[in-house]
Amino acid sequence: MTKLRVALFATCLTDTLYPDTGRAVLRLLERLGCEVDFPLEQTCCGQLHYNTGYYDHARPLASDYAAAFAGYDYIVAPSGSCGGMVREIHPSLCGTTPAVERTYELSEFLVDVLGVTDVGAYFPHRVTYHPTCHSLRMLKVGDKPLRLLRTVRGLELTELPGAEQCCGFGGTFALKNAETSTAMLTDKMRSVQDTGAEVLTAGDNSCLMHIGGGLSRMRSGVRTVHLAEILASTEEEPWVPATR
């Protein structure tokens, strides 16, 4: 059987700030039998510009994405937000391209394309899951991340109250309406702490950066770890915290 040719769309945020997440996706997909490439032509999907109203800057970035990822069977992003930008918004900016149609958020790719929910992971921690807005409402990934988490050995999953409420990140919203954003963040952090979890996970490093930034400021002791890093973790090669 020929291996699936998968391109990793790391997203600019993960590429720049969270390389461990990129390595985790790579390890996970290779463990599941994929041949993974990282096309170096990729940069940003244009979401920052689009969401802030700079459509003229977003358009060429959407075209560049289509060119960078042409020719792969699947394109996998560890982000519901950037994946949603590509699938739901790119067609309005540069038309429907093969790259748009072949783009998947990680949990969608694992469950829908590879057909797995047990990826052989081991993560002996108490974890709660925040379903990020764009995963939930743009891509509609539903309970796929939870189905993956439930099969992780050693992992104790606790339900996050008010899980579907936004954490208040919203890209430039966090700067333009910093106080409202912080009010939303405060309520989200309280919910996270109420679960008693050691780790908060999600499918988007952007939301985790926001909630994690607040939790870190509060010295809360709760860590934020991307879903990919939990799924990549095994007994032989357990997850280790990032060093910066």
């Binding site: 790391a10 807005c133 409402r137 963040l185 870190s216």
Partner: protein, 475 residues
């Protein structure tokens, strides 16, 4: 012509400034959290009962899109059918024209007091203030509107304009304003006091003013949907009835009401059916008002219709479901939006009706959202509010020009992202931020990063990006 559109309140601060004040009001935060949490759960419950909800939403959107695409035809048809059943139709280009028409009609009846059915269109044009200036006192008869009016307050919600008030505050307002004050702050006593206060008004008023939830082009029937029955009193007791209706409120046929009378109550009050649905077609001798006037209001609607993406805001049936699920609205309340249309729908409707993206307050509204999409998910007519928000942001950006600090930063970022080599160089430069970090986190950044670091840490940029690692190990 040329007068300021009162859809946004004169002198209102921009959204972030108004939010700053609202967020500090702990009573407001607690009132809103309680109210929105309750209504959210109730709505989800009654919507889940219908297995064809998604098809109803599609039908609602399709009917409204047809109306908007053929507005000219349907409006003329409505005028003909209303006239045929004895009503008089008036056309108003803007708020000033509509207010003048209504004032003249009231004066012609020799009335100095009118009773009002809760209406967004008349609130949008500032009708009460215009009537007052013309010597006519308008009495709001919807309980929540009455609370706002007696409290000399502004509305903060489309459906429940006094949602920001709790019952102790309402009791306080009533005691200060009513000749027969409420016996206590219990809801039944408050309602009884309002009932006595209003009953006298209903029986003495010669003229009533209403809005319209729908108007049927084919039959000339006007529909008002409400919960309290006060609207029913207004549209049946006085001799003259004046309805002010936005031109987008019509539906082509009687049958179309079937869709909306299912969508609206479940989305707004979380009821399967609303208690009072009043429908009238012109005048009927010996039954109800003897004179009926319909004022068709544009006030920025045809201009909104011209915006290919923004026009979908005109599908709105004013249900408030988007307000009740919005995490921003829940925390700031409605008055922060500076318009009778608050929340997500207000953020896309008010600036479009106002029609001037150079206005700082209106231009701040499309940014009052984290684009979480909860509003789109519940909208009974599938208005893609996030899509319109970003579209309006692009219009604000165009109005501000290319020289703002933000525009320059965005241009620089686009230039970096346009070339993988420049992008990688920027990552390397960014990793110098580690110098600001302690234990891998940065707790202080200069402006505008300070807006982030005032409440959150920021991760230091690692020495090696993912792509640098890939190139080193796999390249």
């Amino acid at each position: 012509m040329g007068a300021r559109n009162p859809v946004t309140w004169l002198g209102s601060p921009t959204f972030p400034k108004a939010a700053h004040t609202a967020l500090a009001d702990t009573q407001l935060r607690s009132n809103l959290r309680k109210a929105t949490t309750t209504i959210r759960a109730k709505r989800a419950g009654v919507v889940a009962e219908l297995d064809d909800w998604e098809r109803l939403r599609l039908a609602g959107a399709a009917i409204k899109d047809d109306v908007l695409a053929n507005l000219d035809t349907y409006l003329v048809r409505l005028e003909e059918s209303v006239t045929a059943c004895g009503g008089v139709v008036h056309w108003a280009r803007d708020a000033a024209e509509a207010n003048q028409i209504v004032l003249d009609l009231v004066r012609a009846e020799g009335a100095d007091e009118v009773v009002k059915v809760k209406s967004m269109a008349t609130a949008e044009i500032g009708l009460n203030e215009a009537l007052e200036a013309g010597g006519v006192h308008a009495v709001e008869t919807d309980l929540a509107e009455l609370i706002v009016q007696l409290g000399h307050d502004r509305p903060s919600h489309i459906l429940v304009p006094a949602i920001h008030r709790n019952r102790a505050e309402i009791g306080e307002i009533f005691r200060g304003q009513m000749t027969e004050p409420p016996a206590s702050d219990e809801p039944a006593d408050l309602a009884e006091a309002a009932r006595r206060h209003l009953r006298r008004k209903f029986l003495s008023a010669k003229v009533a003013i209403s809005g319209a939830n729908f108007a049927v082009a084919d039959t000339g029937s006007v529909v008002v949907v409400e919960s309290e029955g006060n609207g029913r009193m207004c549209v049946t007791l006085p001799e003259t009835l004046i309805t002010v209706m936005g031109i987008e409120k019509l539906v082509p046929t009687w049958q179309d009401l079937e869709v909306f009378l299912q969508l609206l109550p479940r989305s707004s009050t979380a009821e399967r059916m609303n208690p009072y649905t009043s429908v009238w077609s012109g005048v009927t001798p010996g039954d109800g008002p003897r004179k009926f006037h319909l004022v068709l209001l544009d006030n920025g609607r045809t201009a909104t219709l011209a915006d290919e993406v923004g026009a979908q805001a005109l599908r709105c049936i004013r249900c408030s479901a988007c307000l009740n699920v919005c995490p921003v609205y829940e925390r700031t309340g409605g008055q922060a939006y500076g318009s009778v249309y608050p929340g997500p729908i207000g953020a896309i409707l008010a600036p479009q009706l106002a029609g001037d993206m150079r206005d700082k307050q209106a231009a701040s509204l499309p940014y009052a959202s984290s684009l979480c999409g909860a509003c789109y998910e519940v909208c009974p007519v599938r208005i893609n509010i996030p899509e319109v928000l970003t579209q309006l942001r692009s219009e604000v950006v165009a109005a501000k020009g290319k020289r703002t600090p933000e525009a320059l930063a965005m241009a620089a970022a686009a230039w970096v992202f346009a070339d993988p080599k420049r992008y990688e160089a920027a990552q390397k430069a960014g990793s110098l931020s580690r110098l600001l970090a302690r234990d891998g986190t940065i707790s202080w950044l200069p402006w505008p990063g300070s807006k982030w670091t005032s409440t959150r840490d920021f991760p230091a940029v690692p020495k090696e990006s993912f792509r640098a690692w890939w190139r080193r190990t796999r390249g």
